[in-house]
Symmetry: none
Subunit: 200 residues, 4 copies
DNA sequence: TATGAATGAGTGTTCATTCAT
DNA sequence: TATGAATGAACACTCATTCAT
């Protein structure tokens, strides 16, 4: 089994190219959301992108690279979101600050839930690529720093557990069709504070 | 898209047949664990089972049925485990009782972690079959009853959140290679009691 | 048993595509003629067409569609032939007119006899597709109108019997290796006029 | 392509064997009638015969031999029928004699129409076996002798044409669902006498 | 540079036939 | 002798990828 090429082929910022590139990515995303992973074929992607397969291969070395790029995009968004939240939270008291971070985290699950789920699953099957690794690391660091700032012991481990816990609950709830995001956020808050022993 | 057949074809308890049947299931399980879902082809399954493709199809109507049976097996084990734990917990105080249930839950993740993860993923792609549905329902009921017994309000929702939370944390920890199950159990306990507001 | 797709997939009149499409059809025809229906596999068709299986499936949704298209082609030819014959016969006396129609009918059996036989057999196993149905209906109408024009009673039934009778005789004769088409035509004429009570 | 074995494996007239043999043949016949040629698998035959595949292969060298035996049975029945008819006809005038023969011929199509059709089709795909050849020859001889007896010229050719004509008409009519056998017989009579120039 | 026709290895599945029990 | 589990070659069909135009 040869490791697939995951990097995009060129990184062209010129108009035409960028547009094609984006069209391909968006098409792939929509297929994952609406038609499922089994429908994610290169021909289908090209078709939905309004582009020929040949062009698709001009910008991406293969199917896996497209998925990898979608994953990178998702991770970038998450970092962006969390970074902004940490910023906002820097001037807040502990509980509101936690709420701010949770709200940001929830955005990941609520924005395009089907896409997020699909990409997380794909991520498991793909070899680890450097940028994705770095982005995930950055997410962890942001949270660890936050916990550190509030004097929480064993911040690394806590961050790990909290992320897993929140991810588990949020994913399950969204998947089950829950619509009341505020209620879900409240329960997450309860779980987090409980875990941290700060519930009182 | 025609719904695939998920029920086994024959269920023969005679020697040779049962052995073949089991060999196929075990081979599929090992492939999922060691080679990944992409390697799970009928030919590979037959090969690892030391059996011909023809034999495979004598017992299962198709690949999906093999996976479905593995899932059913996993769910049956979980029900068994949890039922026993609930039984044991019936004479215990609240905290030890929670610990008992958590220990049972953790077994699901620690026994054959890669298999559990793989099957959970497959489960998402497969149509819901009746028995699996029933088993999952039974799991929920066991937990809801436990929570009810201890006077916990909104037991349905709590059960849902707690299961998701524990699943998220356990899966992430095991996946990250954690070996100290007792420590993990302790953290889960903390999270659960915290969520329930019983941490003191 | 799911009804197979019988319509072609694309109908491209551009050069390369059309050529591939035709090559596939002709290859299938030749296999039916020379190797028999058992040899009509998609791989064999592609091989004889000098094309890859993939290309075959680009133009036809499946094996049955190829056969269906051959059948449609055969029926179209028959309609064409008979229509022209009816035209020609319109200015003739009864007996010459009958001869004209019979000659056209015989063409169907003499052109590519093995292919005609094979396709007629395949037609029985395939679900009825709309165009084929329409073509067969048109054939019947042409004959019925002809009989009507000459004041023959119960033209529908007569047409039915005459077609069956001629088809039976011609198929058997050609299959037995008869070469003298004129003699065969004469016997058909005798049979037809006899049946119609116009033999004198 | 190796020529398949068409002869039955043993010709055992002892009770048990004969019964099994017959069960297999009747099962195959019914499958052809009711489920179609695609369903005619050795396993299915054995199943419907209430016998194991192993036993099936004890009496027949392969699937083709079973079909070949059914064909021989059909041909034997036809010979039987026609021989009796010729016998009966020997004391009749020409026209009633023709009617007698036609009635016998029609029986072939009316008895088990679907089976007759199916077997005729199979016959085309199978290599010619000696007995079947002999039986078909015998049929021809019976008719030729009949025609000779009534002073019909070129009896061989006439027999050939008449058989083909009658077969074509009868098969088409029965297949189209005609139920009025007497009417069909009358039309056949008309066609035959017309062809022979004896219609007046 | 863009196109989309062409490729063919690989997948799931069937079924005639064998042979250990 | 009867059984039916086991076999595996063969089939229909898909899809990531290439390359002539």
């Amino acid at each position: 089994m040869t490791a697939p090429q995951l990097e995009p082929r060129k990184t062209p910022i010129q108009g035409r190219s960028k547009a094609t590139c984006d069209a391909v990515l968006e098409a792939a995303a929509r297929i994952l959301e609406e038609e499922g992973r089994a429908a994610l074929t290169t021909n289908r992607i090209a078709e939905r992108a309004g582009v020929s397969v040949g062009s698709l291969y001009q910008y991406f070395p293969g199917k896996e690279a497209i998925v990898a790029e979608l994953i990178r995009g998702m991770r970038r968004d998450m970092v962006e979101l969390l970074r902004a939240a940490v910023e906002d939270a820097s001037s807040q008291a502990f509980r509101p600050a936690v709420a701010t971070l949770l709200a940001a985290t929830l955005r990941h699950h609520t924005d395009r839930p089907a896409l997020a789920r699909a990409l997380e699953r794909e991520e498991e099957d793909l070899p680890i690529d450097a940028e994705t690794q770095a982005l995930k690391s950055e997410l962890r660091v942001l949270i660890v720093r936050f916990l550190d700032r509030w004097g929480i012991a064993d911040a690394e481990r806590c961050a790990f557990d909290l992320v897993a816990m929140c991810h588990g609950m949020a994913a399950a709830a969204i998947r089950a069709g829950e619509e009341d995001v505020d209620d879900l956020a409240a329960r997450l808050q309860r779980a987090v504070l409980g875990y941290l022993g700060r519930s009182v």
